[in-house]
Subunit: 178 residues, 4 copies
């Protein structure tokens, strides 16, 4: 199995070692919602990735990933955005690292709304306006922009695994557009 | 007396009428801290206005002003930024209108840290990155950029009336740079 | 018409004067969602008021009201909670006055999600755990507690005027329970 | 060496194993500031622990600790509060898990304001009102309450290692009392 297929940013560990660690400690994570805003800063569109999942299916997805050892949160956000959207995306990181929500992913189904069968992850979620040009990379097959109205349609939200539909709802609520 | 000298955005009222209203109801306000950020979104500099005060003195100041009747908060932020910094300042408004702090200005000295002898104002305070070119306008004589270290020097903070030094400290705390 | 029927906290103004002011300046407001929490602080129930509206109908409602001249936000929250829930409600006010959302009510239908035909109000919204005994007062006919699941049922949310259903959704999102 | 002396909540690991993990992955942490509030929810006092440090010195300290594997953030907060303040402290956890700040502790001196020579920790910081009776436990020798004015005296803040003085300042700023 390809290491990238397990986790795009696992390059510092052998797969076996990462698997072992994941059964022992919770991992600090970030979730990023790429957005477009209008001239007054109001959120107008959200970007979702079409990502190949492990079971050769395709799912709508946010930008997510681990914070590495000795990496700052800001570095992790930039790294994951560039990994998925390419080096010309020009993300505008927020002034404050206070997240709009904290998502607790557990490997045990039914333990809460956020599920990640691989690990216990504690994720800081950010909204990040994208001002440049996106070229989906790596295992991100494509990026689609949805208007605030479009993304709230049940068929879109239903296509998001891991509880990411809830992250989208919380982002819209915090941004004051739903 | 010139109306602008009383309040830069009082154009919808005669001075007498505004004075009367100000003794009856609290006014919704905004305070904006213009900032520069680095490529990772980290706050590096804050901009302070040199403003002529009523008593022909000069004070360091934030961008502040009323929210008008039937005006949105985003419109008020853009209007006040353009009024003080000119039309080419290109402010990046935050995605969320949740302020980093709420400042309660009272006309009575000693009632709290924020004082405005003219009125009771309830102010939503925002950090706004400025990406364009600033040309101080109106009663704003000049704009000076201070690094995070410089602005915390006692002589700078001491020159800020109305409790604005406290707003600067809260902004730095919220932005995670102090 | 009874003054209380216009606005529960209008006692400092004659109705005519209040009507006049309301067409000239926006009013600072608060919205309070009374909640019950479990031993770990997790939101379990929200309280909605059954309130008689002007047109002799009944609507589900939050605790809302003006901030008076020279009143602090904390005083306004306590005053409105006691007015609607009685003096034994024992509200636990939040440590920070940063609201979970800012609601902009406009008198013009269609201008935004929050509508108040009487005025332009800028409202700071807070979640306030209630630890005591509630005795609905004044024009609040009754208080009903809804579980997090119950309150999200369409028939409950649909019964909330002014866009208050949106405030409930944003509160649940911010509290991390929806 | 006693395991508790290394880390109060390391009971799930042998010391060697914990040391090894700490050089490989960042640890999700919490920092808790115990506070007293008045009837209007306003922060009046902060509690600091007198804690024996590894080098047989004594330092003023917050309540800090790891989030364990498969433990919720709320469980971790309650566990660490009870560990340091005893089972009768009756902490009032916040309704939202959005922290007032995120502290990034690095093992490398000079890398940032928060330093922890043992590990890279990413800490969610919360203000938690304490309503019960505190009996310092374990390696917490005593708990002292400081008024908002007292805690800002340089000699108090200077006695706080790891950058905890900065956490106190950010907490006061967020709570709107400094």
């Amino acid at each position: 199995m390809d290491r990238t297929a397990i986790d795009g940013d696992s390059s510092w560990f052998e797969p076996d070692e990462l698997e072992l660690l994941r059964r022992k400690v919770p991992f600090p994570y970030i979730d990023v919602l790429p957005v477009r805003t209008d001239a007054h800063g109001r959120l107008t569109h959200l970007g979702l990735l079409l990502r190949a999942t492990g079971e050769s299916r395709i799912a709508l997805s946010l930008i997510s990933g681990r914070i590495r050892y000795h990496e700052t949160i800001r570095e992790a956000v930039v790294r994951h955005v560039e990994k998925d959207l390419g080096p010309l995306a020009l993300p505008e990181l927020p002034t404050s690292l206070v997240p709009f929500t904290v998502a607790e992913y557990f490997p045990t189904p039914g333990f809460g709304p956020f599920v990640d069968e691989r690990q216990h992850a504690i994720s800081l979620a950010y909204i990040v306006p994208i001002t440049g040009h996106c070229e989906p990379q790596d295992d991100a097959l494509d990026l689609s922009w949805y208007s605030v109205a479009e993304i709230q349609q049940p068929e879109v939200l239903a296509g998001m695994p891991h509880g990411h539909d809830l992250l989208v709802r919380r982002a819209l609520a915090w941004a004051g557009v739903a």
